[in-house]
Amino acid sequence: MELVQRFEWIFHIILIILALMLVLCLIRAIIGPRIADRLVSVNMMGTMVMVIISILALIMDEGYLLDICLIYAMISFLAVVVLTRVYTGVYLEAKQKKEKQKREVQKDETH
């Protein structure tokens, strides 16, 4: 363990590179044209934050931080499930409404 303390600068560099990648992920989330791109990049950010937290847990020698990492694993999965279910539900409802209107319009023309 004292080796980790002695060579702490390696972990600092790894943390800085991961933070830069996090910013790039955020840019991908902002640019992303469709909702699925944003969801994928938020998922990626969650994974990177989990690696950052476990490296911090190693440096600070605290096992307590890994619970946060576990919470993030579950939450990013839950967010994906909830958003996909809610979004497809809303989209299909809108589609059915449109088809109903189209059928009514055709019925009026035939009469």
């Binding site: 943390l15 902002i30 944003r38 950010m45 937290i53 931080l65 946060i68 919470i71």
Partner: protein, 85 residues
């Protein structure tokens, strides 16, 4: 370690600005979730892991998911493309 904190704080600023500038509500909620992701790292760096756990559980978990569900309730779930129909 200091540069790491500067990058993360810069990330938070970019996140906050892009939440307010995004037209689509769904997009701002997702960026709000990434804001709370990074916020909990900063809580850890400030040596307070309990706050980090609450921020993680509440910020990313409860608030964002409740925002998704409220969006469905108020029928505001629109992609930019669909508005101009």
């Amino acid at each position: 370690m200091l540069i790491f904190e500067y990058i993360l704080l810069g990330f938070l600023v970019v996140c906050a600005i892009s939440v307010s500038f995004s037209k689509n509500l769904l997009n701002s909620i997702l960026i709000f979730m990434s804001y709370s992701l990074v916020m909990s790292i900063i809580w850890i760096l400030l040596e307070s892991p309990d706050l980090a756990i609450t921020e993680a559980a509440v910020g990313a978990g409860v608030t964002s998911l409740l925002f998704f569900v409220t969006l469905k309730k108020i029928h505001a779930m629109r992609e930019e493309g669909e508005e101009d129909e």
